[in-house]
Symmetry: C2
Subunit: 253 residues, 2 copies
């Protein structure tokens, strides 16, 4: 993992990094990250590691809860070149939209293909982050994502014991995603933007229902933007599930 | 409205009252209720105005948010005699349970009958509460309920402009309830205890979907008890929607 830039603003240090072909960004509290929970953030399809909503959530997590937050570009997204096969998916989505056909089945399949490639990249990124002295392998780990980021998180959590909490937003759901969710036992909080016409609410509820997690919560809300109290609630969810190790650290000193 | 007893404990004054045949209880902050939002609380079928969960929520609302909270017994519940017709409903529910038949359709119909009688009682109770000097007609009003309390709240909110926010728990849903929800435009927060086998999750989601409210939120959660963060979230929901008038009062001083 090579850091390629570092800036600092409002108590948050932002460092861009590369790891082989992977391009990413790491936000840490300027006051020090020792013992901080690590939150991994997966962006939507068509977006990138510095998508506005992702950055807003990351900065809130760092400043309000003292989290360390990392995000990487999905294959063919952000700073990474798109391959020929992915270009065909993107053109198929554009064509469907132009012709007024439903894009959900195409996006769901494209997301699944991207997620299969993104999971080993997230694993390698987490290995490298845990090798950093300011993070280490004791930091409790959460994963949050939107749409493509949800698909990646579900596929990853089904095989990754290091993730202790999952927070998800709206997503295009297909049967393969439901099947993967049935293998996930990590505590999970799902959000459904109920008025967002592109997502099918019933399949969002079916995805929530499919998680094998003993602790799971569903939050549906109306309106065009995520309400501020929902953003707070998401950070509190992670603090609730990831905060304990940090607290234990304080107790040991 | 006649107060029949008054006790005080941990900063909360509890007064029992009667209003004609209605029996009720009023909790107010010992530090004074002027300008406090008024939260009306509807109990589950088979329970009463001092059901343990209701009391816990009421005390939290008074102590953590400075609310005034009122609850009344539904017809034939708590301190009120059960009439012959209601006795038949109760026996039908017991028989169905003994025979292993589904109770949901019977409970839903019984609740609808109780709610039709409870709505004018709640209206009279609210009139009387607003006539009290420590409440007045400026206090913002919320209504929260569980099961029977949800049915009563939906039927009431469809015709009652004074209610500014609704908070609901699990409920047996039938088509008549869905129809009433379509007339409700008040901000609403619905909770579904996802593991509670007695309630049908899909019909709980359908009820949430039916509300005409521009602002609505659904929270589903697992586990046998309401998680503490959900109880906090409910109080925050009411504080968010009812707090403004209280804040304005402070600004005016």
């Amino acid at each position: 993992m090579q850091f390629t830039s570092e800036t600092s603003s409002n108590g948050v240090i932002e460092r861009r990094f590369t790891l082989g072909e992977i391009t990413g960004v790491l936000w840490t509290p300027a006051s020090g990250a020792a013992g901080a929970p690590l939150l991994l953030s997966g962006h939507s399809g068509g977006m990138h590691k510095k998508a506005p909503g992702l950055v807003a959530g990351a900065l809130h997590g760092v400043t309000a809860h003292g989290f360390t937050v990392a995000a990487i570009d999905a294959p063919g997204h952000g700073d990474r070149p798109r391959n020929v096969e992915d270009q065909r998916w993107v053109e198929a989505i554009h064509s469907a939209r132009t012709e007024g056909k439903p894009i959900a089945p195409i996006v769901a399949e494209y997301n699944m293909s991207l997620a299969e490639r993104a999971v080993p990249e997230w694993q390698a990124t987490l290995d490298a982050l845990q090798a950093l002295p300011e993070i280490g392998d004791e930091a409790p780990i959460g994963y949050g994502g939107m749409n493509l980021g949800v698909v990646t998180g579900v596929m990853w959590a089904a095989v990754e014991p290091r993730i202790a909490a999952l927070g998800f937003g709206g997503v295009f759901v297909n049967e393969a995603l439901i099947e993967a969710a049935r293998k996930v036992t990590t505590p999970v909080e799902c959000r459904i933007p109920w008025d967002e016409k592109e997502f099918d609410n019933a399949s969002g509820v079916a995805l929530f229902d499919a998680f094998a997690s003993k602790e799971k919560a569903l939050h549906a809300y109306t309106g065009r933007r995520t309400p501020e109290y929902e953003r707070d609630s998401s950070a509190r969810f992670f603090a609730h599930h990831l905060g304990r190790a940090a607290d234990a650290g304080f107790e040991l000193t």
